[in-house]
């Protein structure tokens, strides 16, 4: 039978406020599945024209698929969210790019015609599930020197990246981190972030963590507005003595969830749903695991090539800030300035936090907002590095693009 590849669009995206992992974090007594359930419900509330029975799939990512992040989260969270039992679901894992992979896998299915509309998102509760929980790396990795021992520790891979690119100094990383905090604080002040946050009720029974009883998480907990270079200069370098990577120029350990609606463009239009971004291309690529932070470079190369675009065609960048040095390496490769205004306009993971498998959709939600405000931009990209040496890139087209708005592209 003849097939037509369909255009795939990003309809909407939401997330919980991100929290700090650990006993004092806002989500310490909140389940991971509940976090993502609230995101799915918010998507449905925000899009009342969407009959939930039309949802063809729920793809949810988590890195540590144990306990409240296990049990085929895509299916169980769908039921918990009140989706009809006819809606199936599955779980995804590509570590930090989990939600991004959920989006691309769903997008592939939509383009192929398997789905009309679906939910893609992710969750990571790093407080309940610390990085590395339950892992059992094959001893051959080390015995056969398949990867360097540092490959399993993301902070060490970031130090390795500083080694590879000596000109990407700690100073530059710290300056980048300060700007991320400033941009995030400004985005909050301008109300750019809150509109896509789902408030989450949070219980606390431990008085050492603060006031007890039920509370409400309405803002990102990790934010440190007013951070200065001086503040950052004195921070410890936990991954290497006299190293360069500090808690200040990296994303922290966080809890949070995201979800998005991905649809065929004709279906979204038919149902009267918003079309916030149009998928152009995507690609994932592998690199040496011990310098995983460079991953976005080859993945972006691949995605640009597939789209027939060049880096100069991209008007807005949402780069995940697992580590400042990894963003710098990406920008450096393309000759983009550290403080280029097209990059991470609202700040990034250094400020908001990075609950691993959930972050991909945060990048998309923020890019979608920026598209709406900047009709002169035609293309944007979301990219992130991934543990064990990978990168992922998704290139999007701005449906609001208006040549007359003065855009070059």
């Amino acid at each position: 039978m003849p097939r037509t590849v369909r255009d795939v669009v990003f309809v909407d995206g939401v997330r919980t406020p991100f929290g700090k992992a650990g006993p004092k974090g806002i989500y310490h007594e909140t389940r991971a599945d509940d976090l993502v359930v609230k995101c799915i419900r918010e998507l449905l509330r925000r899009n009342p024209d969407l009959d939930p029975a039309r949802i063809d799939e729920v793809a949810l990512a988590a890195t540590t698929q144990i306990g409240d992040q296990g049990l085929t989260l895509g299916r169980t969270a769908g039921i918990l969210a009140g989706l009809p039992e006819t809606v199936p679901g599955y779980s995804v894992d590509r570590m930090c790019a989990g939600a991004m992979t959920a989006v691309t896998a769903i997008a592939g299915g939509v383009a192929f015609g398997a789905y009309d509309i679906a939910v893609a998102g992710g969750v990571e509760h790093m407080g309940r599930h610390p990085m590395g929980e339950g892992v059992d790396p094959n001893p051959r990795f080390v015995s056969e020197k398949l990867v360097d021992e540092s490959a399993l520790f993301m902070g060490m891979t970031a130090e390795n990246l500083h080694d590879r690119f000596p000109h990407l100094t700690k100073q530059r990383a710290d300056e980048y981190a300060v700007r991320s905090q400033e941009k995030a604080a400004k985005a909050y002040a301008d109300g750019k972030i809150q509109a896509d946050l789902v408030p989450v009720s949070v219980r606390r029974t431990n008085p050492e963590a603060g006031e007890t009883g039920w509370g409400l998480a309405t803002a990102d907990e990790p934010m440190r507005p007013g951070t200065t270079l001086e503040n950052l200069a004195g921070l410890k370098t936990p991954f290497r003595a006299h190293g360069r990577v500090t808690p200040g120029n990296a994303a922290g350990l966080n809890d949070g969830a995201t979800a998005s609606l991905i649809a065929a463009e004709d279906v979204a239009r038919e149902l009267g749903l918003p079309v916030k971004m149009r998928l152009v291309s995507y690609a994932f690529a592998g690199v040496e695991p011990e310098v995983m932070g460079i991953g976005p470079v080859p993945s972006t190369e691949k995605a640009l090539a597939k789209a027939g675009l060049s880096i100069s065609d991209i008007g807005l960048f949402e780069v995940n800030e697992a580590f400042a040095v990894q963003v710098l390496a990406f920008l450096d490769h393309y000759g983009i300035a550290d403080d280029d205004p097209r990059v991470n306009q609202y700040g990034g993971a250094i400020a908001f936090g990075h609950p691993l498998a959930s972050s991909g959709v945060r990048l998309m939600t923020q890019l979608a907002r920026q598209f709406e405000e900047q009709p002169h931009v035609q293309y944007g990209l979301t990219t992130m590095c991934v543990g064990f040496g990978m990168g992922g890139t998704v290139i999007w087209e701005n449906p609001h693009f208006d040549k007359a708005a003065g855009g070059n592209k």
Partner: protein, 713 residues
């Protein structure tokens, strides 16, 4: 005010050292949409949802302290509103009854009422609006604390919401009686406070709480608190107006109160005061004067707490909730053997009802046998028809119906049916010879471990077992009609019954969701013996010359679910006669066989009464029965009849306890409540016999120590 409240509660707390204390946590949040800073109070006793949050005096004091804090913040403009919610799955389930049981003095009872009022009322007097978020189970004082708030939301997942006070023998005395009719109108309030409460404490679900107008908004459980707070922000920002329907304070109010009285009369026949007190307060609340209403609630609470009906109500509640779950004298659970297949001997109506019950609760194969194929088919057909009814009502789905139908079968050959059954119950003709023969046949084909149970209502279990090779596996398993509805199951230990068989029987009872009470193998066990003595004594007074209506009216003040002769009609005069004959053989000096009853049975009458549409289906003495009656010339007053009947009951129970028919008087009461539907306000019957003096007059002592089902000394 705060100081006196504090003192009041401090005094009360000293009386109740064992209180499970609820904390009132105050936490501040930023409301969505920039609606401002908000203080959210969480009621939490620190235990999981199986131990619901309650209000004892220390708990009230904690809430009072929390309100001190938010009151100050509200006055200073530091918060724009105050909310109240509960721990996961539980909002709050009201006063701690254990504390109520300990109260000895009216002034302490009054202090509890006043203490609750004074704390809760503060929520309506803050400088900012207050919000209750009914997130989970809310009962009694839990419901009431929310009624004092300016606004309420409810979770659609809320499983249970009620004002159970009247059911127990109290009034909703922390604002419920006065506030609820003023919020939702008198008629709806009567439904919640009187009708639901007296209807076995019927619970409302979240949706009904919203539809009744108790809550202003309803949100789904998955993000109930979040949506409630977003709604709160809209209300506080003035974006959302909460509109409540006007209350009809005219005739409709009086009609509602009259309806409440009619409901109370039909349930307790004026015999228990709580419902009437609640209605009085509700009637007075028509003028909207809440303060007067609260004072009236305090007085009613104090009176009722110092009255024995409430003590009996709490006693009965504890029997049904606690003692029923841990049957006195039952052997260790670990001795019980698994039951994976059930056999039923007989396929008559009783046998078929038992088959249905075992099938539905155990979900294992159930085999019916009888003496011919027609009867077997009829029995299986009955079960199938009942399954179809359940399916039609949506109580089970098609898969479950298919499963249940697949599990039930009927055979003629006992060997074929019972060779792998673990539990075989007989419900054949009530005659010793027949039953012994049936058990012998069953024993010949059943596995060695199978329990042989008998549903006999009056025959000796030991005698029935005596001719078997293994009499140790025979137990009495006496159900009450209607089997599906009455919870009681008298489990009878025969002389030779062993612990493993008994433990298995109790295990089966638990799965059947029945209230099992262990009885000795004594004539007619518990309920039938007491009811037969009770009815027999009434019948005696009639036979001796007292008019039927006088004898019937004599026991009306007890508030029994039905009059003795209506009960006889339900049981069937022939069965009543049969049991009286059995007991007469055992205890001829106390149990008589009424010649009039025998005549009625012989005439084939189904009862003493006839019912006609012209007379509103009220019972009227059947003229044909009247013609049969041969009465003497001793005419007693109602009071004399009552004394004679209740003294007979007191004597019989005294003897049963001496004989060791059950472990304690509590088991007698549990049996009467769950097997005969005798009311909570009587505490079954022994608390009533104690407080009216019958027990002491007849037996020289009370059944229960002071403080059990009565105000402590």
């Amino acid at each position: 005010m705060s100081t006196t409240t504090t003192e009041l509660l401090k005094g009360a707390a000293e009386l109740f050292p064992g209180e499970v204390v609820t904390q009132a946590h105050v936490r501040h949040i930023d409301l969505p949409s920039g609606a401002g800073r908000f203080a959210l109070i969480t009621l939490d006793n620190g235990l999981d949802h199986t131990k619901p949050t309650t209000f004892g005096p220390q708990s009230l004091a904690n809430l009072n302290t929390a309100i001190d804090q938010v009151e100050k913040e509200a006055a200073e403009g530091a918060v724009v509103g105050v909310g109240l919610t509960g721990k996961p799955f539980i909002f709050a389930v009201g006063a701690d009854l254990k504390g109520v049981e300990l109260l000895k003095r009216r002034e302490d009872a009054l202090a509890i009422g006043k203490g609750g009022h004074e704390v809760f009322r503060r929520l309506s007097g803050l400088a900012v609006p207050t919000f209750a978020y009914y997130n989970g189970a809310a009962m009694g004082g839990g419901v009431e604390v929310g009624l004092h708030c300016s606004y309420r939301t409810v979770s659609s997942a809320l499983p249970a919401f009620s004002l159970p006070e009247v059911f127990l023998g109290l009034v909703p005395g922390w604002g419920g009686c006065a506030l609820l009719p003023n919020l939702i109108g008198a008629d709806r309030a009567v439904s919640v406070i009187i009708e639901n409460s007296l209807n076995q404490n019927k619970q409302l679900k979240g949706k009904q709480v919203f539809e009744l107008g108790i809550a202003d908004a309803i949100f789904e459980g998955a993000d109930f608190l979040e949506q409630s707070l977003i709604w709160t922000a809209s209300v506080l920002r003035g974006e959302l107006q909460v509109v409540r329907p006007d209350i009809d304070r005219g005739e409709a109010w009086d009609q509602a109160v009259a309806r409440g009285k009619a409901v109370a009369d039909s349930k307790v026949h004026g015999a228990a005061p709580a419902a009437y007190r609640a209605l009085e307060i509700g009637a007075a609340a028509k003028n909207g004067d809440l303060s007067a209403g609260f004072d009236a609630e305090d007085a009613a609470l104090a009176d009722l707490i110092m009255g024995d009906e409430l003590r009996s109500g709490i006693y009965a509640f504890n029997l049904v909730q606690k003692r029923a779950k841990r049957p006195a004298g039952a052997p260790d659970k670990s001795l019980a053997r698994p039951v994976t297949k059930v056999g039923v001997v007989g396929a008559g109506l009783m046998a078929s009802q038992l088959a249905l019950l075992f099938l539905r609760r155990l979900e294992v194969p159930v085999v019916l046998t009888d003496i011919d194929q027609e009867r077997v088919d009829k029995g299986v057909g009955y079960v199938h028809a009942e399954i179809d009814k359940l399916l039609g009502k949506g109580r089970i789905n098609q898969d479950k119906a298919n499963r249940l139908k697949g599990l039930v079968s009927g055979v003629l050959d006992k060997a074929e049916g019972f060779s792998d059954a673990d539990f075989i119950i007989e419900a054949v003709f009530e005659e010793m010879g027949v039953k012994q023969k049936v058990f012998a046949e069953v024993e010949a084909v059943a596995p060695a471990h199978a329990i042989l149970a008998t549903n006999t209502s009056s025959l000796s279990v030991s005698e029935m077992a005596s001719k078997l090779k293994h009499p140790e596996r025979v137990v009495g398993f006496h159900f009450f009609n209607p089997v599906a509805i009455l919870p009681l199951l008298e489990i009878v230990r025969g002389e030779q019954t062993d612990d493993a068989s008994l433990a298995t029987a109790f295990g089966v009872a638990r799965k059947l969701k029945k209230t099992a009470v262990l009885c000795k193998d004594a004539p007619a066990f518990v309920v039938n013996r007491i009811l037969t003595r009770f009815m027999g004594e009434i019948q005696n007074t009639i036979d001796e010359g007292t008019p039927v209506e006088v004898a019937e009216k004599a026991v009306e003040p007890l508030g029994l679910p039905m009059s003795p002769l209506v009960l006889l009609e339900l049981v069937g005069p022939a069965i009543g006669l049969h049991v009286s004959e059995t007991l007469n053989r055992a205890f001829p000096e106390r149990f008589t066989v009424s010649p009039n009853l025998a005549a009625v049975v012989k005439a084939g009458k189904r009862g003493f009464y006839v019912y006609s549409a012209e007379n509103g289906f009220k019972p009227e003495l059947d003229p044909e029965v009247a013609a049969l009656l041969k009465q003497g010339d001793t005419v007693l007053t109602e009071e004399k009849v009552r004394t004679r009947v209740m003294e007979a009951v007191a004597q019989e129970i005294g003897l049963m306890l001496q004989e060791g028919v059950v472990a304690e008087a509590q088991d007698i009461d549990l049996c009467l409540i769950t097997g005969a539907g005798w009311p909570f306000h009587l505490g079954g019957i022994t608390p009533y016999l104690d407080r009216e003096g019958y027990a002491e007059r007849v037996n020289g002592k009370k059944f229960l120590p002071q403080g059990v089902a009565s105000v402590p000394a």
